[in-house]
Symmetry: C2
Subunit: 192 residues, 2 copies
Amino acid sequence: MTALPSGARVSLTPRAQQIAVEARALLEERGREALSMRNIAARIGIRAASLYEHFADKRAVENAIVAAGLYEQGDFIAARLEANPDEPPMRVVAEAYRDFALDHQALYALTMSRGLDRDAPDVAAAERYAAGFLRRAVGDRWELGLAFWAFAHGVIDLEMHDRLPPNRDPRDVWEEGLAALLKDLGAEGANA
Amino acid sequence: MTALPSGARVSLTPRAQQIAVEARALLEERGREALSMRNIAARIGIRAASLYEHFADKRAVENAIVAAGLYEQGDFIAARLEANPDEPPMRVVAEAYRDFALDHQALYALTMSRGLDRDAPDVAAAERYAAGFLRRAVGDRWELGLAFWAFAHGVIDLEMHDRLPPNRDPRDVWEEGLAALLKDLGAEGANA
DNA sequence: GTCTATATCAAGATAGAC
DNA sequence: GTCTATCTTGATATAGAC
């Protein structure tokens, strides 16, 4: 069940792979508005024009980053589930989701605040892979599963935009909402 | 308790007020990336340079839009509460929040996906006004109130970015999560 | 309060040579 | 696969005249 390296899941030439890796590093180091074709190229030591030999346009580069990020997010969740077999899976998935997002904020924002290009096969497959963990954690209560996701995303997004009151700990908000939802999920989802 | 017209709450010259109104109309009609100084000016029939007589920079124009939007959102929620005195207030607030957001998507996105400029006094006051309704709806369970907000924002944001599965009704996700949170809030918040 | 004119910058993308 | 050179567009913002 150990995951393949994400490179093996994605249909890119080796060079395009490498560019996507550097682009992602750039994104995480310098933020989203630094992710320009020029900056990506400069980091690799080539000219922006040369990138178009490997990607049709900027959107395609972003898609590669997003797809790789979703696989990595899934792998991270999978590892946490393996490491915590006695915790309620939905709690493990939720905590892992949040930790990953907060550890990769620019990547998370890129993934969530643009529409996903579902006609890009790599993106669509990566989305299915990542969503699978949520699905399995909630059994047949798929709508409630999506509600967990919405709650998690909402807390993370408010936190990232500094919208929560400064005198409150976001972790308390998180715990309060998560507990309420888990109560509703009940025993059904209590173990995998 | 009827609200003042939002103009009266905001410290802008009449001309600046008028510009902000047009800017907001532009935002709602043509979306966020159409909100440029050039486009705002063109809609009024002046040149972009002239706007700087009334606002220090673009950010200030956005702040005026956001502050007015928050007051309007608050008024909308207040009206719903008055119209539904027998419903659980937290449910009324949540439903009103969602309806307002979905009816003013570009405004909502502008308000939520930029940081708020809290040193702009108008913005800070508007935020307090809008947050007050949530506060009163949850009594002393303020963290849970923030969890309601996070959940609502999360559903709305996923919905706006087309992230929810196409074969599921977002309303079902909404209802499922809201019901779970309301259950946890219990009788305390059942009436105002 | 608005104008013209302009500075400044940066973005995505293409053509065609090597 | 990368280069140079360039096109095209569009943004925020300022100076100074009227």
